[in-house]
Symmetry: C2
């Protein structure tokens, strides 16, 4: 009697394996064969769940984008002074980035070779634009310094926040997600210099 290995994958767990492989090999460098080997199930079992690797990419980056756009709908992102809303958004971006680390990592590495990748880049630009608008509003209120151009400041602030995916690992003994979020908020708003 042969024991048939039961396919216990759900779309959710398959997605988690796929994102790990995409992040290791790069999306372009990943084949269905790689996914099948990493998941330990046949290619046809994968096709039972999804239409192909591009659907897995779309689901993965959607999860990251939904997390980020969700921030903009939170109460503290919608009401109050622009500078306070911006501070809330910056803190929550770090928290979402750490909570959804592999998904946001993948989103930040997307190039633009397929329709899904171009769509993801477009959505990222939309998000960046929304945050830049908040920064501009805070500058107009006089709460944010006026001697750094808004687009440049947005790019640098995003640079600091996004760099977290390069080194943050949930199992390190180092800083917790909360500490990283606190540190980013402090540095972005008040800088290094002791008052």
């Amino acid at each position: 009697m042969t024991t048939a290995k039961r396919d216990t994958y759900t779309p959710e767990t398959l997605l988690s394996v796929a994102v790990q492989v995409f992040n290791e090999r790069g999306y372009d460098g990943t084949s269905m064969e790689h996914l099948s080997r990493a998941a330990g199930i046949s290619k046809s079992s994968i096709y039972h769940h999804v239409s192909g690797k591009e659907e897995l990419l779309r689901r993965a980056v959607s999860r990251a984008l939904d997390g980020l756009f969700g921030i903009l709908d939170e109460e503290h992102a919608r009401a109050g002074r622009a500078a306070d809303r911006l501070e809330h958004v910056v803190r929550r971006m770090v928290e979402v980035l750490i909570a959804e680390l592999p998904y946001v990592t993948l989103l930040l590495r997307v190039r633009g070779n397929t329709e899904t990748e171009r769509w993801a880049l477009e959505r990222r630009r939309d998000f960046d634009h929304r945050v830049a608008e908040l920064l501009k509003a805070a500058a107009a209120d006089g709460d944010i310094r006026g001697d750094v151009e808004v687009r440049l400041a947005t790019r640098l602030v995003f640079g600091m926040i996004n760099s977290v995916v390069e080194w943050y690992r949930p199992d390190t003994r180092g800083a917790s997600g909360r500490e990283v979020a606190d540190a980013v908020v402090r540095l972005v708003f008040s800088g290094l210099r002791q008052d």
Copy 2:
């Protein structure tokens, strides 16, 4: 009579072509064939100049590393209060990064699959460590805030600085290298908030 195309490459110009190809394809994804096609000369002509692609990588990342380590030998990096020395180093890092953009971009993307890559990673860690020491000294002087752990602050500051390679292009109408360096120094030391 056939006209033999004369090999007008110098080690310097060949390096510049190689770095461009490495940045586009990734070092691992680049073959001598790719380099030969991009340079428009035969593989044997390339071997006339260098022993192989790893030597080109070593020369390229050495150029970036020499630029960065050179900063630490500058007078303003060696004398004065630690916080002022740190400010000088941060400003000059942005300037070197922009002056040597393709070389620093390559350095920041190095993985660790070959001996040269591991050596480059080691040298990068040395440099990061030297800057972290400066930050620690400035905190001990009471000039830098004490509520963000030094290693975390170093990583976030490097994150902001290094992110410049992702979007800065010398031909953009946007900010000049000087403006970017000014903006980074302002944000790193004083933050976004209007005093």
